[in-house]
Assembly symmetry: C2
Homo-oligomer: 247 residues x 2
DNA sequence: AAACCATTGCGTCTTTGTGACACAATGATA
DNA sequence: TATCATTGTGTCACAAAGACGCAATGGTTT
């Protein structure tokens, strides 16, 4: 990762990425630990002068998670002038680290929230010299976050739950081949409630975004479930137009 | 309106308000004409240091439209580095006007898009010394806009059309008492298509956000339609939770 | 090897929502 | 007084969604 000097960034605008992962029936979020503290933060950064928000987000994902071409969705802007009032906690650290000029953190900045959904197992964490630890934290166990990052995570989850009702979900979250119960488990995890197995299958099939394969998952206890894959074309189409047009 | 000096604003972040009005079965957007040009712009401005995005938007609505407590919805962020490349057209003007330091416009800035829906007739336009004209322009007749304001308007409309399927609409757009055909006309205008009168009525009533009054609209040709008003409590509830929960 | 049993796949029944349309009531207008 | 565009209500057919029955599957247990 190349360093970013203050000349190259817009000092008042940052992006923060809420990266959701799905593992062992839990929805998790990816957090970084800044060296020498017990504080955790969303991967993020200031925006370089010649980049869009989306490009800035994609750069962060590539640097920190090692993945490209991930669907990133802007969901809100966090602009409370008080949001950086806890900054003193990390100002000392910033000074040590020398990545950005401390003055950047002392003045107010807004943050644009992006979220991504991805397959937890594909991630190869790339730590840099500003953080020596990272972890996936269950969505309801997030704590010790800097600034308003907890609020950002909560808002991302709320947006995700709203969007799941009119947008297809799962493309980057599930492995290439997956079973219907796995898909259901993903939905249940995001929504935080149980769904009827049989009705779920019927409705999901009606969306027409999956290809049923002629294979079954092997080596599992009990009846082996069929494997599915995403129908790329229809999935993209559904992303554009949504499911429930209602009027 | 008090002047804003460069010391009080964040130079890289502006808000632009897409103010939709509904009149004569047309969806219109409110635009300002900068003095001495044929260029039109969305009401907007830079953000003061101690304000949130929402507060900045509310200030603009109050100053330019004379209305308070209007529902403003953040819908996107416009961050293309090229977005201000047409700025030279207005740089001369900015210089004359002296509202902001020209350097602010010469450097890149992002803009956060907000939209509002309101009753066209309640508006008392307040012109300032930067603009001597304002007008309501039919949504499909917008032209000669500065920067990427046309794109901002298009995106706002797209968002509005998407949101109308899971969010109640109309509170600030219709008069306090209104008829079902008026409500339908609003929906048809936003969606850009005709709806069945009878099915619309049934569905709208099922949403449970309206109170049917014991009065009819008087002095109209043909059969007089009943008047309705919004059920404040249920409307707010619906705004929070949405209509189509789907899962 | 046979019985077991948790899980899957498919189907049924009922209720609710939606699109299309019929018909009577209304009330200003001719 | 007759006309007629418009409104309010209802019907019918069909699709979507929730609840649940039941047989098939295939590893596990005895």
């Amino acid at each position: 990762m190349t360093d970013i000097t203050n000349q190259d960034i817009i000092p008042n605008i940052s992006v923060d990425c809420v990266i959701f992962g799905f593992h062992e029936n839990e929805l998790k979020v990816f957090l970084l630990n800044y060296t020498g503290t017990n504080l955790w933060a969303l991967p993020g950064g200031f925006i370089e002068k010649n980049k869009t928000i989306e490009e800035a987000g994609a750069d962060i994902l590539k640097e920190r998670i090692g993945l490209e071409n991930i669907f990133l969705k802007q969901f809100d802007v966090f602009s409370n002038p008080e949001r950086s009032k806890h900054a003193p906690e990390i100002l000392e650290l910033i000074k040590k680290i020398g990545r950005y000029d401390v003055s950047v953190f002392q003045s107010r900045f807004i943050s644009i929230g992006l979220y991504a959904l991805l397959d937890h197992t594909k991630v190869t964490t790339t730590l840099d010299r500003y953080s020596d630890k990272s972890k996936w934290v269950a969505i309801d166990k997030v704590k010790n976050t800097i600034l308003d990052h907890k609020e950002i995570i909560n808002t991302a989850l709320k947006t995700l739950r709203l969007q799941i009702s009119y947008t297809p979900i799962g493309y980057n979250l599930l492995p290439q081949k997956f079973t219907m119960p796995e898909m259901q488990s993903l939905y249940e995890t995001i929504l935080g409630k149980k769904l009827d197995r049989r009705n779920f299958q019927r409705k999901m099939n009606a969306y027409n975004i999956l290809n049923k394969l002629d294979e079954k998952r092997e080596g599992v206890a009990h009846k082996a479930p069929f494997l599915y894959e995403f129908n790329q074309e229809n999935y993209k189409e559904a992303l554009k137009n949504g499911f429930n047009n209602s009027w």
